[in-house]
Symmetry: C2
């Protein structure tokens, strides 16, 4: 298998190898390349919880996610823009993707009103009433300055009826047109130029705000709940409104059983353009990545790595380890002897358990870092397996070992 | 001024330059050299709160402090020893000093009973009744394996009467003899050897415990409250029980006014052996370091750097900055434009404020790191000023600028 190592233009995607539905690719973005499949750590407030950007980069992350909903509320996109955009604000030099805020506002059950124009919601921070519309989501993401902006979508719960799922899916398509229109206006409103790159020292006060100038793409989100016919209609409607540089699959991992999620992915795989990256939103756990990659997914994001890490729950190649357990008190071995992360290279389970018992912050950090690296490495290993034509065997063996579950 | 760069034997101290009472020196310890004056960050539970050992080292710390009281309660010295000693446990390769637990148990007012044999106290963790004696403090510190162990002392409050201070001081001397006896036994109980050094990967289970073998020294603590005559008697009594490789001044910065602390230091300076390092325990803030160095102190420790950092209070060359204030919302400049720390090189005040407002852990970390580096650098700058014979002018100018207090 010969790989074409030539440079790609921004937003180009090249499939370098495949096995079954699984693909290995390269995605070019204004702030750098992403080798897929890839896991994107979530930097909710412009920081992956508990981690320094150097640690996130050191864990191999080639792209980070920021949350539009959270950053809109705190500190507000105007503040981020005044401080040079999200890259400079958070001192992150690699690619960034921002979600649209759709998932978060639709999760605010009882605190939001959905209208055709957009969603009115009550801030979970200060109780203020806010509005998010397809247009304002585009404007916020433009101000944040991510490489990839996501369309503002209507997300329904995993158990939503066909009727509810259809309504959400149709509204997502109508909103997609408005997102596309507003995004296009924003892209054209400022001359094409270069984004800030290289090291990101603090911005001296009075420096003109850094403005993203054309270097942002918009990805649509396929909805339709757990209903294959709706998913198909959503995909067709989305493609009819294209072209797109990438597509996302939303509304999964929201309460539906895993086999159902797998069936939805399988039903979409053939209809998704083969030459565009596919992003499965909000997924997942280590085995979800392997299962998703097997069904043609290229990009993933999830807060579980850091959320579990903060609670002392670590993923290992043999399942999950609860580092708080007394069994680890004098354990000299690392979390995972097969792991190459900075935590496993230096710290024993006994020390990590001690940090959690003593409520010492470093513990949360070290286990979060391990979990982030663990997910990134699963994707890296899958990529290597695909490129050498060994993905089927590798993934079965990986899943079997992981299911062995040490469960300590 | 020519400096002798030749190697020192473990526990040797060489004064390389002085100006007035201020001294610049080198202290050789089994795990490396410490250039004085120096600030020692406090790793209460075997970690400087919120910081990774690489960050502490990167901030220029040449020695770290561990708390015997806290490590005895959690995880217990047996656990630390089973995991290779405190250096290996905490993945810290440079010198370590452990305090004796005296300060902590005497701070447990109402929860402890002082007897001639030792102190019975109620654990603040689980309410269990424990005893700490001069002998057990030595045994715990031996098991932890620090380069420098501190004598178990009787600390009285800053406003203690002459009678109380005398009783505590005399008991400290009696306990010093017992500490010395037990420490000597421990040193002789195991053959002289080398401590573990170099990188510290996790210890495989079943590895024999790392045992400190002779490579630990014991430092006494001068007590006597705020009463110069008692301090003098304490010093004489301490020296009569020597020789010592270094001496500490305890029972200061415990509620007495700062000018009183300065007078005690001045009264001791001439009586302290010029060729031994002097450690002022539990001090301090940046200006306390400058004032202490001017009065002949070589080593300092204090939790204020990280405690203040966790609350968003940062030291700068122009005084204190409260990073939570709204004034910093869109401030692009670093905490301190004159600072060389990893935080100031990368992050704006606006971003740091955002992290605190959003309760994102990274904020505590970044400001704590800044404060630790700030104190270490004050000591480094003082050292350079002493070596070039400019300490008097430098310290006046430094204190004046610091007192200017931006106070934002």
């Amino acid at each position: 298998m010969t790989r074409d190592e030539s440079a790609l233009a921004s937003f180009d995607f090249r499939v370098e190898g495949s096995e079954g539905e699984a693909r290995a690719g390269r995605l070019a973005l204004p702030h750098g390349e992403v080798h897929t499949p890839a896991f994107m750590p979530v930097g909710t407030y412009g920081a992956v919880r508990g981690l320094h950007p150097d640690e996130v980069e050191g864990a191999g992350a080639e792209i980070m996610l920021g949350n539009t909903y959270h950053l809109h509320l705190r500190p507000g996109e105007d503040t981020v823009r005044a401080l040079g955009g999200l890259h400079r604000f958070a001192s992150w030099t690699r690619p960034l993707l921002t979600d649209s805020g759709g998932f978060q506002v639709f999760s605010l059950a009882g605190l939001r009103t959905i209208e055709e124009t957009g969603v009115e919601f009550t801030s979970h921070i200060d109780g203020s009433v806010r509005r998010l519309t397809p247009e304002s989501s585009m404007e916020i993401q433009w101000a944040l300055g991510a490489d990839i902006a996501m369309a503002f979508d209507h997300v329904v719960p995993g158990q939503a009826s066909w009727e509810l799922a259809e309504a959400g899916m149709e509204q997502t398509l109508r909103w997609l047109e408005r997102c596309k229109g507003r995004h296009q206006e924003l892209v054209e409103s400022e001359p094409v130029g270069q984004w800030a790159s290289g090291p990101v020292p603090p911005v001296p006060t009075g420096t003109p705000a850094h403005r993203p100038t054309g270097a942002q793409t918009l990805w649509p989100i396929v909805q339709g709940g757990v209903h294959p016919d709706l998913r198909q209609r959503s995909l067709e409607g989305t493609l009819a409104r294209g072209p797109w540089t990438g597509l996302a699959i939303g509304g999964l991992s929201v309460g539906e059983p895993k086999p159902v999620m797998h069936r939805v992915l399988e039903s979409l795989a053939h209809g998704l353009p083969a030459d565009r990256p596919r992003y499965l939103m909000g997924v997942g756990f280590p085995d979800d990545l392997v299962e998703g990659i097997a069904r043609g997914v290229d990009l993933f994001d999830c807060v579980a790595a850091t959320r579990n890490g903060r609670h002392g729950s670590a993923w290992t190649s043999r399942g999950r380890v609860n580092i708080r357990k007394a069994a680890h008190r004098t354990a000299g071995e690392p979390l995972d002897a097969d792991c190459d992360c900075a935590t496993c290279a230096r710290f024993s389970r006994g020390y990590l358990r001690h940090l959690f018992v003593a409520e010492e912050m470093l513990g949360l950090r070290l286990v979060s870092l391990h979990n982030v690296r663990f997910l990134i490495r699963v994707a890296e290993q899958a990529r290597q397996a695909i490129l050498r034509g060994d993905f089927h065997r590798w993934s079965r063996s990986w899943l079997e070992r992981y299911a062995g579950r040490e469960d300590q």
